[in-house]
Amino acid sequence: MKRSQIAALAVAHLSDRRRSVLAWGLPLGLMSAFIVAIFPSVQGPIEKAVNDYPEGLKEAFGIGRLTDVEQYLNAEMLSLIVPLALGYLAVRAIASGLSGAAESGRLDVLLSAPVSRRALVAAGFLATAVELAAVLLLTLALTALGSVLAGAGLAISPALAGFANVWPLALVFAGLGVVVCGFSLRTTVVTGATAGVLVSMYVVDLIGRLDSGLSEVRYLSVFRYYGNAIEDGIEPLAFCGVVLFAVALTALGAWLFERRDISA
């Protein structure tokens, strides 16, 4: 695999998906900015309401104390919406580079050049990683802006940790998307199957958290290693482990992709 080829393919992939950074980052960022902006005015009633929540529910959705804006941001955005949205975006991004490319004829043109399929997969994964980081950064930037405008006092460092922690989680679903591309190059199949796994893993993790007797099932879900980075900081071992898992899935997907026919 030539690095220059991977870089060229990744840049082309990113250029093709440049609008998606705005299409996903803007709504997520605006929503997140709105959440932090309203916190000062809703803090009292929310604290009271949360105190009345069942303990299991609070634990399931990572709702501890909602005494500061970071915890509120975690409960409203980072425990559900952002990880699921970014996971789905990762699937869409990887599918556009492989199954989508097969359907549009782009793959035929690229594979007319002296490019290995592994290089194509590596470039798609790299571009997806950059796209996810860009969306997360845009979301964080708009969130911080909302906080400044509303005087919510969001601390940037924990917020950065919270958003950054979504990145490896989403990458896992990019890797899983590559694996599915090893079996099918139909975009509906790739996005449908991988998004199904994404939601299933979330539900499995939720069940494990709600019922201590079923806590072992959480090991079936990558959400088990997601944690609460905005409050506890990034757990380096979990962060790196999940990234490595995503890379391993991508490598497996590349191996399968090399062995399949290119036809949607």
């Binding site: 220059s4 060229a8 782009r106 594979l111 050049a113 062995r259 036809s263």
Partner: protein, 301 residues
Amino acid sequence: MAARGAAVIETEGLTKLFDEVHGIADVTMRVEAGEVFGFLGPNGAGKTTTIRTLLDQLHPTAGSARIFGLDSRRDSVAIRARVGNLPGDFGFGPAATGREVVELLARLRGVGGLGRAELLAERFRADLDRPLGQLSRGNRQKVGLITATFHEPELLILDEPTSGLDPLMQEEFLDLVEEERQRGCAVFVSSHELDEVERVCDRVGIVRDGRLIAIERVADLLSRARRRIEVELADPTALAAALAELPGVSDVSVAGQRVSLTVGGEVAPVLKLLASHRVLDIEATHPSLEQVFLTYYREQG
């Protein structure tokens, strides 16, 4: 560039089955440097499957393909460095412009400048700056031809290359193929446009239901083909029966003074017999490759 006459494509029993019926079976052929090889067959005959198998986009079920002496599967990347390919339905998504596609392919191929691509764009009047989604099929095809040829490949694989091109551009394309041949490039062109195949190809392979049923030199194919001869004779009655007895002669009919007949193979015996009679007029119709192709299909069917 491979030496003229050296094998560029060699397949041996190449088979790709999608199920029990569809695909290609037992395709054995050889294409040489400096040769234009036409791959003929109707839609669904297996032309595109053969091309995609040669390019390692499909993996063969059985048999092998060697290009430049390299294994089409194991050495696929090295092979593609020396090949230019125009897919059957050229596309790259609607947003990319032709220039972006060419620039990306140039980077992937390690080609420094886009000088030849610019010249080809001028020659084919291709608009490289509009998104492909805004181009007609013919104009997209021009961009595809540029991406296939701008890096001066040693082997050109073209799947239905003139599809959508207007007649002027088809002429320009045929000139380009001739220039590539002169350069020593081997050209493997799949088509069902028999006129252009007849004009530009040295040899053709005829594919039917996934099987290569014939490989012939175009000139041989045409010379051996059945000709329609019409002769106007002073006294046709006696001659008609004698003509019908000659080897290779069929469909003899008489209408007034005109005798019509079909001749397969050599025409010398017919001419010898006619020479002993008073011939008022004679007209021989040379069959087009299209007629030959249809005859092949009927006979093999």
